[in-house]
């Protein structure tokens, strides 16, 4: 990691990054509207993501939770771990979920016990908790830019 004091503020560069993000966002929305109205069924971005999760990308729901905590829940208190270590923890847990094949096991457990709610609730909440513990950003008042 670089020393923070060597980093510079550059508002025009940040503006460019912002425009790239807004541009991507608009392209995705335009594409999805097109996909939902064209002659083929089931090819919208929502459909594809849902099919992927049904087929085993449990990790995606976990990342949804960690990112929710990272983007929307800043912290004023000192961090438990540095942001670099936090990022590593978040990724390592995702790899563990993949490596130990958690999703099919949990799915089986849920079917056997006839639990009637989505297993993705669990990974969303898990991701959210991990994000809150290890992967929060600093309060806006200390890092404000427009």
């Amino acid at each position: 990691m670089k020393n923070i004091s060597s980093l510079v503020n550059n508002k025009s560069f940040i503006k460019k990054v912002q425009y790239i993000l807004i541009g991507l966002f608009l392209i995705i929305i335009g594409l999805d509207v097109y996909l939902s109205l064209d002659s083929q069924d089931g090819n919208t971005i929502s459909n594809v993501i849902q099919d992927q999760t049904d087929n085993g990308l449990f990790v995606l729901t976990y990342f949804w939770g960690t990112l929710a905590a990272n983007l929307f829940f800043t912290s004023k208190k000192p961090k438990l771990v540095s942001s670099a270590v936090g990022t590593i923890i978040v990724i390592v847990i995702a790899l563990l979920i993949l490596f130990f094949n958690i999703e099919p096991k949990l799915n089986l457990f849920f079917t056997n016990n006839q639990y009637d709610f989505s297993i993705y609730t669990i990974s969303m909440v898990l991701g959210f908790i991990i994000g809150l513990l290890f992967w929060r950003q600093e309060d806006l008042k200390t890092t404000h830019n427009d």
């Binding site: 550059n10 940040i14 990054v17 993000l21 996909l35 993501i49 983007l71 929307f72 800043t74 989505s118």
Partner: protein, 138 residues
């Protein structure tokens, strides 16, 4: 017409691009320019609709009830969510630039979005037989 396989590749390419781009932004010498910091600053100020939308998409993509609240009008929840986002955007544009939205409001936005995506805009709704507005033939 774009088939499902191509859409999958487009989504993966976009994710890959965002990850690599963010990696670059993190290790360049400019402060606070990562996607995470930019989105956080937006969500805590004039673009607080992002928090709501994140919740809606979470519920829409990953959860979802089976009872269609709006009956066969499958397009209605999507149109409604766009209207809500536009209203939030208009409100946000009027906010003071220095205002920092409180964290408990972020929680409310995320939760209400999640519930909306789960109950109103679910992809697991059991399909109805007759569509009064059949757009699939376009």
């Amino acid at each position: 017409m774009i088939d499902i396989n191509t859409v999958e590749h487009i989504i993966l390419a976009l994710m890959g691009f965002l990850i690599l781009f963010n990696f670059y932004l993190n290790f360049n010498n400019i402060k606070d320019d990562t996607i995470n910091v930019i989105l956080k600053n937006w969500a805590y100020n004039k673009y607080f609709f992002i928090t709501f939308l994140w919740g809606v998409l979470g519920g829409h993509f990953f959860l979802g009830t089976e009872t269609p609240v709006f009956g066969s009008n499958w397009w209605l929840p999507a149109v409604l969510v766009i209207s809500i986002v536009i209203i939030l955007l208009v409100i946000g544009k009027r906010l003071d630039k220095e205002l920092v939205i409180k964290r408990q409001y972020q929680f409310l936005l995320l939760l209400s979005g999640l519930l909306y995506g789960h109950f109103f805009w679910s992809q697991r709704h059991i399909p109805e037989i007759d569509f009064p507005w059949d757009l699939t033939s376009i």
